[in-house]
Symmetry: none
DNA sequence: ACGCGGATTCACAGGTTGTTCACAGGAAGA
DNA sequence: TCTTCCTGTGAACAACCTGTGAATCCGCGT
């Protein structure tokens, strides 16, 4: 108890499933090919899914060192995650930007796509 | 599940069969000529088949002593196992590398054997 | 002591990922 | 609209990780 990552920790968000302890994330059962950093960032976001997380919080959680202003690492990895998530499930948006605040993980159908009953 | 190795433990993964308790592993019934370490590592991987296993977990499971950073023994034995497995069943890949995470045992047909660049 | 097979360690090459930078594009407030 | 700040993005380079052949070490039987 207490520690953030148990070996059996499983976070499910719609089609997305993240298993930090097993170094695995998947969409509809299809394994995503993520690097260490990408998985760590996705895990950090997943553990805080649904709420806006500041760059500083994300940075200290993943990089384990003090956040410096103008640090762009988080942005770069958000970009890489988005590319892989988009490729895995076209038409869906996973990571939302909150201008001036940070990012929020929350899988949702892209506005451009027409919704159907089963998608929701 | 109690102790990790029962005398009658049998792990079957497609063409591959491992019997840790009898110090035997075989492919399509043909016995592999493995050394003790090779068999131990294969057994450790087989017991965790399908999931990514870190070097540290493999090392402590097989060598039974604390893992030191930069330890390369696991890599060397993975290499030797690969050579013997490849020789036993050409065209198949058994041990997959997950860069930065570890290894995963999961027998699968080599991509090159059933697809070509133009197929995709 | 010697030879042998296996275990362990070493060193280097090559490949992958992590980090940083620079600039483009966009959002919010005056 | 203008200005400023924030975010998106491609690319360059550094740092790290893995593959691999081979040297060295070790235990055992002769």
């Amino acid at each position: 108890m207490g520690l953030a990552s148990h070996a059996d920790e499983i976070i499910t968000l719609g089609h997305l499933e993240v298993r930090p302890g097993e170094f695995v994330a998947s969409v509809d059962g299809r394994r995503l090919e993520l690097t260490v950093r990408e998985l760590q960032l996705l895990s950090a976001l997943a553990r805080r899914s649904g709420r806006i997380v500041s760059r500083e919080e994300l940075y200290t959680a993943v990089w384990q060192r003090p956040y410096r202003a103008h640090e762009r690492s988080v942005d770069v990895y958000v970009k890489r995650l988005r590319r892989k998530l988009e490729a895995a499930l076209p038409g869906w948006v996973f990571i939302h930007t909150h201008y001036g605040f940070g990012y929020r993980l929350s899988p949702s159908l892209s506005q451009l796509f027409h919704t159907t009953a089963t998608d929701r």
